[in-house]
């Protein structure tokens, strides 16, 4: 039975992943801001087959609470085999361009809080000598684009942090998984017009489960995004700066 900690547990991708873990009989510990949803989600996961579900309210921007939250989770489940970090916000790029405060807040939520949690979790996992750290980054972190470069900066930072962490923890037998979803139809992206490039969160969750089982390093979800981003990364900056992406 796997003991799985999920941060940002009420995000659509996290919920869809949690359902897959529950169906396999995992033991779950959920952290998120929304108490009402957490409570109901825990019940849902129990019905779907989770061995046990504990939860606690956590605002990831409350950095001082990170250490205690992780300790509680580890104590509650008697250890952590998998940690999935799934929280995030898609800030208003235009608003961020006019407000330093907003831009920094986006970076805090999407990058700094993740780095803080990973620093604590990494030491925990390194000491126990096994386990998987899975983090939802984004294709947006592969290249800065004018339409969402603040979000992209945060995700890019997370991606690079994970590269280093993977390199470090490899020796200790700890698996580090970087998850790069493309466009996903979730509450975070509810305001955006959808098209053929969009995927439902269930499809991303399926990919996350498979990547965890196979101990992959970096996955693009769906997989064809690897190709799309390879092309996007190849465009010379001289041209790229003139494009509207």
């Amino acid at each position: 039975m796997q003991r799985i900690l999920i941060v940002g547990a009420t995000s659509a991708i996290a919920e869809a992943s949690a359902r897959r873990f529950a169906a396999r009989g995992a033991r779950l510990y959920l952290l998120a801001r929304n108490l009402e949803r957490l409570h109901d989600l825990a019940g849902d996961l129990l019905i779907r087959g989770a061995a046990a579900v504990d939860w606690a309210v956590l605002d990831v921007n409350d950095f001082d609470r990170h250490a205690a939250a992780i300790e509680d989770a580890a104590r509650g489940m008697g250890g952590i085999d998998v940690a999935l970090i799934a929280h995030g916000t898609l800030g208003d790029q235009a608003a961020c361009e006019h407000s330093v405060g907003l831009a920094l807040q986006e970076l805090n939520t999407n990058a700094i809080s993740v780095i803080s949690l990973l620093t604590l979790l990494a030491n925990h996992f390194e000491a126990q000598g096994h386990g998987s750290l899975a983090v939802i980054s984004s294709v947006a972190g592969d290249r800065g684009r004018r339409s969402n470069y603040v979000y992209g900066t945060a995700k890019g930072a997370v991606t690079i942090f994970l590269q280093g962490l993977r390199n470090r923890l490899h020796r200790s037998g700890v698996h580090v998984l970087t998850i790069k979803p493309g466009f996903v139809d979730t509450p975070m992206t509810a305001a955006l017009e959808k098209g053929p490039l969009w995927s439902p969160p269930e499809r991303i969750a399926e990919g996350i489960e498979r990547a965890l089982d196979r101990k992959r390093d970096i996955v693009y979800l769906p997989a064809w995004w690897r190709l799309v981003m390879a092309v996007v990364k190849l465009i010379p900056e001289r041209l790229f700066k003139k494009m509207s992406l």
């Binding site: 929304n34 019940g43 019905i47 779907r48 959808k194 053929p196």
Partner: protein, 435 residues
């Protein structure tokens, strides 16, 4: 956000709210103080019944809330799909007592359209198996509705097309299941009379439905494959799931024409060689043959399509159905999916579609002149005392609605009582005079 029904016509620009909890759903209703709003699930109703300028989506009211593992009772959010219920509960030996022809509908949608299945003559509509539900009404209050609590609101909401409020959650009774397989008997019938007689003589069958070749004319008019089903006793509950294919893009609109459809229908009919055959198949292909082809509505091209489904009373019988089928076959407009079913008695809900008699459902590509044909068909259906299914409709007139649904005034009275008029409205409700 551009929104459309399964038939992809009409298209509206809508503001959508995605509440994920009781309190956010109440807030979403309160936020539309001046503008009417309509609930929406998976968007599988064909026409405009879940379309409006303001929409509240049940997508994230998608949690299983409570289950009684021995009694098969489940309480879940309105946005939980029938597919999810099957995924979780079939392996535990429970099935949906009533299911429509797709599992990609939500519990809230199934209640609002009071859907029926191939077993209507035995089990009735979906609402028969709904014990209670919680509804956000116009005032923002959450009312629990059942046959004993706010029974008028319960009866108006089941089949009420979302026009009474926003369903938050419901408690359903599931049916025990022995195995995941169904024994299907196929009877080949050379014309309509034989098909109707087969359906009538097999009323004891748990599931019965007929696929009709609606392009055959003359002595072969209404030739059909009558399919009967019984849950197979024994066998496994954990049968492997089928691979799902999808239609990746819109097909060119001309691809489906009376020739290609005529050829398909002839092949489909003649593929069955013997007068009567039995085979065992998984419940998915039996109940949901089209669900394995994702986005199949793209087959009809960008212009979209619609389904015409009507019911006529049993008394109108063979003559009534023959007259209507003759008009359809004579129109030269093709339909792959002409499905005929003998329905059981009408229930007490004010706007539920089924009544004791025969229902026929046909898909048509949207083309000039189609709605004129529908008007003619409406007149024939209504003259027989029948009605048109609102869950499939995008064009019925107010007069046609009122004739077909004589209890509409009682429905409006309940809406008035709970403040729903002017608050919960869809494009369809405006068109058919339910403002």
């Amino acid at each position: 956000m551009q929104l459309q029904g399964w038939g992809r016509h009409p298209v509206v620009d809508a503001d959508i709210d995605y509440p994920s909890s009781r309190s956010s759903a109440v807030a979403a209703v309160a936020a539309s103080a001046r503008q009417a709003v309509i609930a929406r699930g998976m968007g599988r109703s064909y026409g405009d019944s879940a379309l409006a300028a303001r929409v509240i989506s049940s997508r994230y009211l998608n949690l299983l809330l409570d289950v009684d593992p021995t009694g098969g009772r489940v309480r879940c959010g309105a946005g939980v799909s029938l597919a999810e219920l099957l995924e979780v509960f079939v392996p535990r030996g429970w099935f949906l007592p009533v299911t429509p022809g797709t599992k990609f509908v939500t519990v809230g949608g199934a209640i609002s359209s009071d859907v029926h299945g191939k077993n209507h003559h035995v089990q009735g509509c979906f609402s028969e198996w709904v014990e209670r539900f919680d509804l956000v009404v116009a005032s923002g209050e959450v009312l629990t509705c059942s046959r004993s609590e706010h029974p008028d609101l319960f009866r108006a909401t089941c089949g009420g097309m979302g026009l009474t409020g926003i369903i938050l959650e419901a408690t359903l009774q599931l049916a025990p299941l022995q195995g995941a397989f169904v024994d299907q008997t196929t009877l080949k019938c050379g014309h309509l009379e034989e098909a109707l007689a087969s359906l009538e003589s097999r009323r004891s069958a748990t599931y019965s439905v007929a696929w009709i070749d609606c392009q055959a004319t003359g002595s072969r008019m209404g030739r059909a494959l009558v399919m009967l089903g019984e849950h197979a006793s024994g066998g496994t509950l954990n049968a492997p799931r089928r691979r799902v294919l999808s239609v990746p893009a819109d097909f060119p609109g001309w691809l489906l024409n009376s020739y290609s459809i005529g050829a398909f229908n002839a092949l489909y009919y003649h593929r069955v060689r013997v007068r009567s055959s039995v085979r065992r198949l998984h419940y998915e292909p039996f109940f949901y043959p089209l669900d394995s082809l994702q986005d199949w509505n793209r087959l009809y091209g960008k212009g979209g399509f619609t389904q015409y489904q009507f019911v006529i009373p049993r008394a109108a019988g063979l003559d009534g159905m023959s007259g209507i089928l003759k008009r359809i076959a004579g129109s030269g407009r093709g339909s792959f999916l002409a499905v005929l079913k003998a329905l059981g008695p009408e229930n007490a809900n004010t706007l539920s579609f089924p009544m004791e008699g025969y229902t026929l459902a046909l898909d048509f590509k949207l083309q000039p002149g189609l709605f004129e044909l529908f008007e003619e068909l409406d007149a024939m259906v209504l003259d027989h005392g029948g009605r048109i299914y609102l869950a499939k409709d995008c064009r019925l007139s107010a007069a046609g609605f009122r004739r077909g649904y004589p209890r509409w005034e009682a429905f409006q009275a309940v809406r008035e009582k709970y403040g729903a008029r002017g608050k919960f409205e869809s494009l369809q409700s405006e068109r058919i005079g339910l403002s």
